[in-house]
Symmetry: C2
Subunit: 367 residues, 2 copies
């Protein structure tokens, strides 16, 4: 078992746990910065460590297209390739196959598509995606799933769930590396019956962990919370639960409340590169002219490298002058902010004060 | 006095010295990475420190246009603004005024031009450029000079020398901050009489250090070495000599041999961002397909962060995938390489082996 529960909130489904991965204990709820192409954009592994990041998400689809999983395997696996001794989870790339590629042919056997990098034709099957992730050597790999867009007719979502379940079995069968852990992915769009059917069937297959996919794709937070409300009830308490691609701090708080343990999102890095910083008193758009001579840090309450060393005025200057260091410093700060939030969430759960923490947090953000 | 000589080579004019700046002793010959806009591109101050960089070059022209010297002064000066506790030298921006701006009107009083950033009209005089650099708070400031393009008629170069000398006097007169050191700049294109006249007149004004400007602008290394050969003889032994905007390792070796103590150049950072790494066995163009599966570091002989942690294959992947981390890691390596070269140069001079070191170095590069 890679997961154990450490503390359970009495008022909500929130819980603290510990993941054992890459010879390390990783406390949950955990946030996993995104390193799609084998690098968390703009940051060195030393930067990442300084944000208290313990696990990152990479992407089998992208790494297969470039540089190719064989190169990564030959060079000793992704940890060594990217110089990261923390844990790594890889998404299989189901989402990317369906969202990024044009000419896609889906059959029960798999997906045929053309590489947007160089036009090469690929045929991805559950077996192939499992082998790719085995070669990449991530600590956790994800089953290959079919993602439907939102909104989506129930019939179409149902077909995708059936296929996702068949593919999940094939991934389980193909997965041979006992050093790696395979998670199943619950699909079903916003349809209760489909989500429950998918969750139940995956649980019957006995994965080591369960992800909830196909959310945060435009359905809005009300519908997302609703799906989480009923889906989590069909997932076992003793396995980790991962909400894919989520999210903003408020989304994370809502999902933790509903029993989610793991999160990934591009928000801290992408917003950082766009000049938007998360702070304890709300977001700071660093290009705003009000910061022109602002000698203060992004966030007075923050102890990250950026806030300890640089003023808002300097960061604004870097963004105005299109200097790369600005992207690095805001990405670093934002990930630190997210990791600090997770730390506070874990502490509040352990103290039985999660509900209060959440209300206080949301109040401060709107000040 | 900010400079003392530590060792003098017997076979050449090469020498080791020590600059006292920002309460630090900085050994010469020294290489100063370029941080034009108040950041050495892509690197944090921590990265810079790790390359053994002790002094960087920034640029008064650029900082005046953006964010404005008043902002920097108000925020405590450039060191604090950019979080750099090493030394800083600022170029006045004479070179930039003449090379980067379109509608320029030059008179004996100064230069009128339009900001390429936002179209604002500026009038730069020696007094104004001195005040800007005083406000920025660099440890060394440069006199405001008139730079001529190459090639240039002797008459035109002569007019620019006369103006440069008058402006140098006005800078000396305007410079009030005794915490900062002002250097004069020798101009004169490739004309012996002009260079000697300019050097002599500046020495009569008794600057704390002397720069040689207007070289490495297309005249080629033979002519550059010739200018250095005769110009340095007219500069005093007890003051530092700075060759502006130079250069590649071979240029640095040639200039050290001719008695130069200080260098700045964009080469390590710009080439790094273009995927070109300097190594002990020559340059590595990281996008070359031969590095696709190369598990070795950029340079086996290098102990920088990049070489200790990342393979050529990974760095190539970062560049192919247009990931910013690649720019950072190659810039870091290249500056480390330059600083290591300077260290080896200083050691060879101290041991009286500079000539041998230079020959060996050039031999290895061509292997």
């Amino acid at each position: 078992m890679i997961f154990r529960t450490v503390a359970v909130d009495k008022q909500t489904k929130a819980r603290c746990g510990e993941l054992k991965l890459a010879q390390q204990g990783i406390l949950t709820p955990v946030f996993m910065p995104v390193g799609t192409q084998g690098t968390v954009k703009t940051l060195t592994p030393v930067h990442l460590k300084a944000t208290d990041t313990r696990i990152i998400l990479s992407n089998a689809y992208h790494l297969c297209l470039r540089p190719g999983e064989k190169v990564i395997k030959q060079l000793g696996g992704l940890h060594k390739f990217m110089g990261w001794d923390g844990a790594i989870i890889t998404d299989s790339g189901g989402y990317q196959v369906f969202s990024l590629t044009g000419l896609t042919k889906v059959s029960d056997n798999g997906v045929e598509f053309q590489s947007p990098v160089d036009g090469t034709r690929f045929f991805f099957t559950p077996e192939r995606m499992t082998q790719i992730q085995n070669d990449i050597g991530a600590d956790i790999l994800m089953a290959f799933d079919e993602c439907v867009p939102y909104p989506c007719e129930q019939d179409m979502a149902g077909v995708a769930v059936k296929r996702t379940l068949k593919w999940a079995e094939r991934c389980l069968h193909a997965h041979k590396n006992t050093q790696q852990t395979l998670f199943g992915i619950v699909q079903g769009s916003v349809f209760r019956e489909l989500r429950i059917e998918c969750a139940r069937s995956l649980v019957d297959m006995n994965f080591e962990g369960y992800a909830i996919g196909g959310l945060s794709v435009g359905e809005g937070s009300l519908l997302m919370n609703e799906v989480l409300d009923y889906t989590v009830d069909y997932l076992p308490d003793d396995k980790p639960r991962y909400l894919m691609g989520v999210g903003f701090p408020v989304d994370i708080l809502n999902a933790v409340e509903r029993g989610i343990d793991m999160f990934d999102c591009v928000v801290p890095t992408r917003n950082g590169r766009n000049g938007c910083a998360f702070t304890s008193t709300g977001r700071v758009k660093i290009l705003n002219s009000q910061y022109k001579e602002d000698a203060g840090p992004l966030d007075k309450a923050c102890s990250c490298y950026t806030c300890q060393n640089f003023s808002r005025a300097y960061l604004r200057h870097l963004f105005l002058a299109r200097e790369i260091l600005g992207l690095t410093l805001l990405s670093l700060h934002n990930i630190f902010y997210f990791q600090n939030l997770m730390q506070l969430i874990r502490e509040s759960i352990a103290k039985g004060e999660f509900k209060d923490f959440k209300s206080d947090f949301l109040l401060k953000q709107s000040e």
